[in-house]
């Protein structure tokens, strides 16, 4: 009898993979509504990791993730590297908050220091019932951060949220709540990196109040063994502006859930993303823009380049509810496959229940334009550089959406490092 058979025998047969997966985790004790914890526990006890039979995980296999044996840690080792010059740095190492800056016009506190009233924001729009990862996050977060941009405050420097994993085999759930109060303006920079296998499981909840402006650049630079499942849950009130650019540069399995509820008139919503995948990588972007009120614009552009044996998934839903007239909603997903082993699964979905709207969506997946490659090579450019130039051109319109020059330069430098770009 080998050890694996032994393990199986010792396990009660009804133990799910999910129960096994969470054996080493300890529940947190933040004082948010206790019913959330009860619900999370029951969801986790009564369900398992979603399989590909589940529509929203159809192309993203979690078998490898479910087999990991992870723990949490309070260890913090080396100093972290901070990409931007902005002094506003919030760092989270191995899932632990290490320091919180003081920013004029912004109040920043740990969830463990928040009042019950403040904690009412937790899971306000995040549903636990149908999502084991939201349940995992809610049950096991030790702490989190509440960031409130005060009314009428404009924060010019980027607020950097730096997530770094320094240990292998750890589980890092974290909750970040960001409130852009009335007529405020701020720009966030999220950066994820680290080493070793593990699961990074952040849940972000954004509340963008009336006339507020919030933009966000999310850079995912995870390592070849890391799993990353994140949720950005956005709630927009009238006259507000939200923009997110999700740049996925590396990682083993990355799932981004981006859900935007536009619950006010005259809002603008921009969601852009690009992903450059190499051998053995999977990136899954699931986005939802839900227009509940009239007179709003949303623009969505995701572009991907897939190399080696990689898998890309894009699922973009746009809902226009019955009363939401005069909505302009555009969505586009375009992909280039650089190898025969790469595959892309793209599903744009529009559900429109109002009649006076302008919506369009499109999805394309193609190969590199070999005629263009030949043209560039006849000018003395190597095949490799020609392909890099073409890739750069392809995702250029997404990168152009990043307004902060320092971030653009940073992303470019990473692309040079990872993909041999010529600039």
């Amino acid at each position: 009898m080998n050890s694996q058979q032994l393990d199986e025998m010792e396990m009660p047969t009804q133990t799910s993979k999910l129960n096994q997966f969470r054996t080493n985790f300890k529940e947190g004790n933040l004082s948010f509504d206790p019913s959330l914890r009860i619900l999370s526990r029951s969801v986790l006890e009564n369900s398992d990791f979603p399989t590909t039979r589940n529509e929203s995980w159809k192309y993203t296999r979690l078998t490898k993730l479910s087999q990991l044996s992870l723990t949490t840690t309070e260890k913090i080792n080396s100093p972290i590297s901070v990409p931007l010059k902005s002094p506003y740095v919030i760092s989270i190492v191995n899932g632990n908050i290490i320091d919180l800056p003081t920013i004029q016009g912004v109040s920043i506190s740990r969830l463990s220091d928040c009042s019950e009233k403040q904690l009412e924001l937790v899971c306000k729009n995040v549903s636990i019932e149908n999502d084991v990862f939201h349940a995992l996050n809610t049950l096991y977060i030790k702490d989190g951060i509440l960031i409130e941009i005060q009314e009428n405050q404009q924060i010019n420097d980027a607020i950097q949220l730096i997530f770094e994993t320094q240990e292998s085999s750890i589980f890092c759930p974290i909750r970040i709540i960001i409130v852009g109060k009335k007529s405020s303006k701020a720009h966030f920079f999220q950066h994820f990196s680290g080493k070793g296998t593990g699961l990074t499981l952040p849940v972000f909840e954004y509340f963008i109040e009336q006339n507020a402006h919030l933009s966000l650049d999310k850079i995912q630079l995870e390592n070849d063994e890391s799993f990353h499942i994140s949720t950005d849950q956005v709630y927009q009130e009238r006259d507000s502006f939200f923009k997110i650019n999700t740049i996925t540069l590396s990682g083993k399995l990355i799932r981004n859930n981006l859900n935007i509820l536009v619950n006010g008139e005259n809002c603008e919503t921009n969601l852009n993303g690009t992903y450059l995948l190499g051998d053995g990588q999977l990136v899954d972007n699931h986005t939802v823009v839900d227009h509940l009120k009239p007179n709003c614009n949303s623009n969505e552009l995701y572009k991907g380049v897939l190399n080696g044996k990689s898998i890309g998934v894009f699922n973009g839903k746009v809902f226009v509810r019955p009363d939401a007239q005069k909505i302009n909603a555009f969505q586009s997903n375009a992909n280039v496959l650089l190898s025969e082993d790469a595959s892309m699964n793209s599903k744009p979905e529009l559900e429109i229940y109002a009649d006076d709207v302008k919506c369009s969506h499109g999805s394309t997946t193609g190969q590199m334009d070999e005629e263009a490659i030949f043209y560039l090579r006849t000018r003395g450019i190597s095949d490799r550089s020609a392909r890099a130039l073409m890739t750069q051109a392809f995702i250029g319109d997404v990168l152009n959406q990043i307004e902060n020059e320092e971030i653009v330069d940073y992303v470019q430098s990473k692309l040079v490092e990872l993909h041999d770009w010529v600039i």
Binding site: A372, F374, R379, A393
Partner: protein
């Protein structure tokens, strides 16, 4: 400069070049004329190294190097340039950006340091002026939204930037009005030297009023069947190609 000997090439099993011979020396301008489908663009594609074509026989010596052994980019780095009959559009790739990459890769191949940004921009200004290409166009995406004439001028601009030893201009004059033709020809003439050579492929004798060829060749059915001087071009334009066809058509 270049010595093409008994060149045979086919595509998808169809024989297009059938024993082509051509020698071009430094300092010379050669014109190649011939009916549609004769194989003129095929010759330029084969010389540039387009992989769809299979060379089944023959050799090409380019300044002492076996050209057919080189990759497309190395042919360019050795000094071969092709102005395309149909220049393609490459959205998102800026003209000057890619030219700088090209220039630096060529310099690296020759063991030279990269060109400085300042020298490069000076050169862009000079050379775009030479072909009267709006400097705004020079920095836009390659040929994107360019008119037919602008695309052709952009080809000559690139040639001027890269300073090749041998340039092959495949119908660069087709579709140009007289003004544009004069500009393009002027560009070519100014770049002419005792060290380089040009092959112009054309259907129209009028180009040869501006770019005076040393030799005019007739390419027919995959071979050079007749060689003469400028007068041959006049004769061809007057009489068409039927008399050539009658004389050289291979039956069966």
């Amino acid at each position: 400069m270049i010595k093409i000997n008994n060149l045979h090439a086919s595509i998808d099993g169809k024989k297009i070049l059938k024993g082509l011979n051509l020698t071009v020396n430094a300092g010379e301008v050669h014109a190649i004329m011939g009916p549609n489908g004769a194989g003129k663009s095929t010759l330029s594609s084969v010389l540039a190294g387009r992989e769809e074509y299979e060379v089944t026989e023959g050799s090409v010596d380019f300044n002492g190097i076996d050209l057919l052994e080189l990759s497309t980019e190395d042919r360019a780095r050795e000094g071969l340039f092709l102005a395309f009959q149909y220049p393609i559009e490459i959205p998102g790739v800026s003209n000057v950006n890619f030219l700088r990459t090209a220039m630096n890769e060529i310099r690296e191949y020759k063991g030279l340091d990269p060109i400085s940004a300042k020298d490069f921009m000076t050169m862009v200004r000079e050379k775009s002026a030479l072909v009267e290409l709006d400097s705004k166009l020079a920095s836009r995406a390659v040929n994107e939204g360019f008119s037919g004439g602008e695309k052709k001028r952009n080809e000559i601009f690139q040639m001027a930037m890269l300073e090749p030893k041998l340039a092959i201009l495949d119908e660069t004059d087709s579709g140009l009005d007289i003004d544009a033709l004069r500009i393009v020809a002027n560009g070519v003439n100014q770049l002419k030297s005792a060290q380089n050579a040009t092959i112009v492929i054309t259907h129209y004798q009028r180009l040869l009023d501006y770019i005076i060829p040393d030799f005019v060749h007739v390419l027919f059915d995959g071979r050079i069947v007749k060689t003469g001087t400028k007068e041959l071009a006049v004769e061809l334009e007057e009489k068409g190609y039927d008399w050539i066809k009658d004389e050289f058509s291979t039956v069966g």
